[in-house]
Amino acid sequence: MLSYLIRRVAWLIGSLFVAGSAVFFLLRVLPGDPAVTLLAVGSSPDQIDAIRHQLGTDRPVLAQYGHWLGDLVTGNLGNSLFTQMPVLDQIAGRLPVTVPLALSAFMLSIVVAVPIGVFAAVRRRGLLGVAVSTLAQLGIALPIFWVGIVVVWLVAVQWRALPPGGFPRTGWQDPGAALQSLVLPVATLTIAQGSVLVRYVRSATLDVLSQEYVRTARSLGYSLPRALWRHGPRNGAATVVQILGILLASSLLGTVVIESVFALPGLGSLLLASVKSRDLPIVQGTVFLMTATVLVMGLVVDVVQRLVDPRLRART
């Protein structure tokens, strides 16, 4: 296990390095001069040179690359082009919105979708089971922002029950208002993530149902729910862990669109605004951090899978 862990961490560091380099080179080496696109049409060559110097793009690419890697290792992601504030501070300032949003949608979709998915599998020929699967299919096919708009229209415009968007300027100092403004975004993200999870759980349960050990347990006199409960979790654990990893990653990414629908000042809207204003350091830093989170989660998933499933450990 230890040697596996060491190899896996080495692999992660390698992936982070490649991902970081990919972000860097996509933004720098692709044709198109950021300094020119950044400035208004008709800027003087002097202005362009000044921006190039500020961006560091007047130096050789390899020197810039070394600089970016060195900064990355020391945890420095540079400064915003426009506000001059450190990128890391700006990102940190957005986390109090994005992290609660992503985590509560993630947990809520587990609580809601797992029982529904198991039910849909056990009753796959019943009317309700088919209805649930169809709804989940529809939930996957509908764009998440469409669901958000409809939710806003129904709850905020028709019923006037909750604010349609935004986040209190004082942040979490007013916990009531902050929570209120997160209800609809979390609900929307949960509908989207939950639909995906229902499909996964349903097919994983169908898989367990068709296994010999369930038939054996049934023949020993266990009822179907008891047989599932006794053998399902242990046998399906590795798959479940993998699905949860994917779900957490997609919850994090889903916030980019959700924050735009509900005008929330989170990481996703920081990224979107920076893309539109071409604030390279922020785009570079945010995309790298999000990708790094996905890669680290991949490692956690692999390790936990081995912990819960001895069959994977044996293979090494």
Binding site: I149, S274, M290, G298
Partner: protein, 299 residues
Amino acid sequence: MSTPLVEAVETIEALDTPARRRRGWRSPSFVLGAALLLAILVLALMSLVWSPYGLDHTDPAARLAGPSARHWAGTDRLGRDQFTQLMLGARTAVWIGLASVAVAFVIGVPLGLLAAAAGRFVENAVVGVIDIVIAFPTLLLAMLLVTVYGASTAVAISAIGIGVSAEVARLTRISASRVFTQDYVLAARTCGTGPLMILVRHVLPNIWHTLLVQAALAFGVAVIAEASLSYLGLGTPPPAPSWGRMLQEAQSTVSVAPWNVLLPGLAVAVTVVGVNLLGDGLREVLDPQLRQERQAADR
């Protein structure tokens, strides 16, 4: 009660005969999926020759009007006919969807085949690249590209295509590796057949149906991605209509004209549900093994 006779009968019943294959084409999911997709395709193709109004036509007197005989789906805040926008949006969605899937397959399939056919070292390298591209979701990739190039149709197609190609490469590698371990490949190799010939004669014929189903599903993913990008303002720039931007515009007027939200969202859903059903149907028609399993499970 499995006597040899019963087993023999079951084997014959499960055989993949042309008649059975034809029956597969009539599976409900295939027919429904094809019908939904056909409706979208007709909208998109018809927009090439006819639409209720021109792209730039506005009707200032009837801004944010509800559905009527003159404007079947109502108008937006500039007085543009929503049905016209929907038809032209279908064209954008289908075009970007097809082009992205083409990009994904042109990159993904050769990469997957290379990984499966080459030695362990190349395979590990390709798998590593695939893992990293999968960690870069389409949306982030699109954002990086838009930062450099600005929003355009080509950027949307490249970003979606590259994002989807990782999944295509992964699937191609897995299915091709399975074929490469078969005895008939070993036999062919023993006879001196070159790797290219093995690919053409043995691997591709055995994996094309998996890839076709994947192409259908990828098209659905691409349509949703296109809608999301244009909703965020990172997709095809105006004036080319797109379902995502229609929704973004409809959101700002949702309190006075909620009906404008309905149709573009429904159009995306119809397309995606359509290709998913079509993919399921295709899988049943093309994969004899899966059909046998289904029949066994239903017995």
